[in-house]
């Protein structure tokens, strides 16, 4: 699978607001990729544009060498799945039923799951280690378990690409690390490109294959090592409160 953005312009219409312009990016294969940058710089907008949730304003975005404009909604649903930061209200649904919604692009007009669909749903639930809770309803889950269920739904959608918007916000440090490891496992075992926006820079630098850094309306894609070498992270934030340590490759509090 291959993704390519060519001179892509993203943002919102009515009123028109261009968030990022001239985006040129290319991905190949199953990598875990973090999108980092300060608040409000356009991480979510980038992911939503890639996912076809909001229309692009100019340029083009190719999935497997075919422009996103040429995909209809259903074809796109078989290529890209998303996990959004604004979580759905806790629903009166069991985890199984919820994850099964991920099979919608494949089911018949009435949305009845075949045996194959059920198998995929169970696999997805096992992968996020919620199998014992599969009949519990979403209302009863903790934030961390809910996030895992959301990821399982995206896995069940069986797409080459999974986009996640801040999958670890509201989670404690343990669950943050757990979700990161889970995403890594999905990308390497299931051969999916997993692209996620995050503020967890320290964790991202440790575990991701690639980092997309958005800074001053510029987009840089690099491996974590090269990004650290380039020194660009040193100036990412104002220096009064946080410092980047080039040796450890981590951000630290400026005492």
């Amino acid at each position: 699978m291959r993704l390519e953005a060519k001179n892509l312009k993203i943002g919102y219409k009515n009123p028109e607001k261009i968030v990022l312009d001239n985006i040129n990016l290319e991905f190949n294969g199953a990598d875990l990729i973090a999108v980092i940058g300060v608040n409000g710089i356009g991480k979510s907008t980038l992911l939503k544009s890639f996912g076809g949730i909001i229309p692009t304003l100019g340029g083009d975005f190719f999935i497997d060498n075919k422009s996103i404009r040429k995909y209809n909604q259903k074809e796109l649903a078989k290529k890209i799945s998303i996990v959004l930061t604004k979580q759905p209200q806790p629903q009166n649904l069991s985890i199984s039923d919820f994850v099964a919604l991920g099979r919608q692009p494949y089911t018949n007009w009435l949305g009845i799951n075949s045996d194959n669909d059920k198998k995929k749903v169970n696999e997805a639930i096992k992968q996020v280690e919620l199998f014992d809770l599969r009949n519990d309803r979403l209302v009863n889950l903790s934030d961390g378990q809910l996030q895992k269920a959301l990821i399982a739904r995206a896995i069940a959608q069986d797409t080459d690409i999974i986009l996640l918007d801040e999958p670890t916000s509201h989670l404690d440090l343990y669950y943050k690390a757990l979700i990161f490891k889970l995403l890594k496992k999905i990308s390497s075992n299931a051969k999916k490109a997993v692209l996620f926006a995050t503020h967890e820079m320290n964790l991202s630098l440790q575990i991701c294959d690639q980092i997309i850094l958005i800074k001053d309306n510029q987009i840089i894609k690099q491996t974590p090592e090269k990004l650290i070498e380039s020194g660009i992270l040193t100036n990412l934030f104002p220096n009064d409160s946080i410092l980047f340590d080039n040796k450890t490759g981590q951000f630290n509090i400026n005492p």
Partner: protein, 330 residues
Amino acid sequence: MLLFTCLFFLNVSLGSVSIPLTDIFSAIFTGESSQSTWTYIILEYRLPKAFTAIMVGSGLGVSGLLMQTFFRNPLAGPYVLGLSSGAGLGVALLIMGSSLLGLSLGNSVFYSKSSVVIASSIGSILVMGSILITSVRIKDTMALLIIGLMFASLTGAIVSVLSYFSASDELQRYIFWSLGSLGDLSWTEVSILGSLWTFGMLICIFLIKPLDALLLGESYAKSLGVNINQLRYLIVIVTCILTGCITAFAGPIAFVGLAIPHLSRLIFKTNRHLIMVPSVVISGSVVMLLCDSIAQLPTSDLILPINAVTSFLGAPVVIWLILKTRRLNF
């Protein structure tokens, strides 16, 4: 289902004239019973009424379910789009407005049943049209909800002004209409209602799958391959057809549309529309048949207004259910 069948026969068997059960069965299945007036009462009055009750209960319940999923709001119901108020305005203009405007063109024509149906249809269609136009311009469902409520208060205000200036007999007629009635429908009217009901329900069956996706919100639904705009129109159209025709024929029946989906969710403990739609249809019919049977006030000649019965019975039940479960698992 069993409860449904029992209530259907119970409903048919109750009325101001008491008819033995055996005669009821023979009237329904063979068209004959020991007295011809009984056959007439059953076939021409009670059966149409029972069918109307079923369609009203299930139709309003399904409309409420669609609205609640669409607006992602447990308070939504067929009323929130202002449809019933639109119908009410139509009827109010017909009954109270015509004389105010100096139109005394043969009162009998104006007050006939069919003209009331036409007036309330026009009222709902006008509101439906405005809502469709608004929903093209405004993509935010919450804004649409508020606009629907504004329509309701606007039409309510006009009705208040009309009733303030109208004569007491006209006011009474309007109030009788607004109290709702399941009876008085001929087989022709029942079949018109029935075909519109069937049409709305058929579309609804095709909406079951995208409605499930919509439970997750519009962005997720989109990412699952749902055509959101098409879905919005279909939901609004189905609700308008079901609520519009029911209100036209039976008056603005309160409460059922809001409460039935909650009742079904509490019973079946799920949000999946594949289960919810049939269960809402059945529980809506059951509740309506039950309410209508109670409205007959067994063993008496009195008939209570159906609107009072639905709210009088329904509201305490829903309050009790919420207190018991401490939350509505919407």
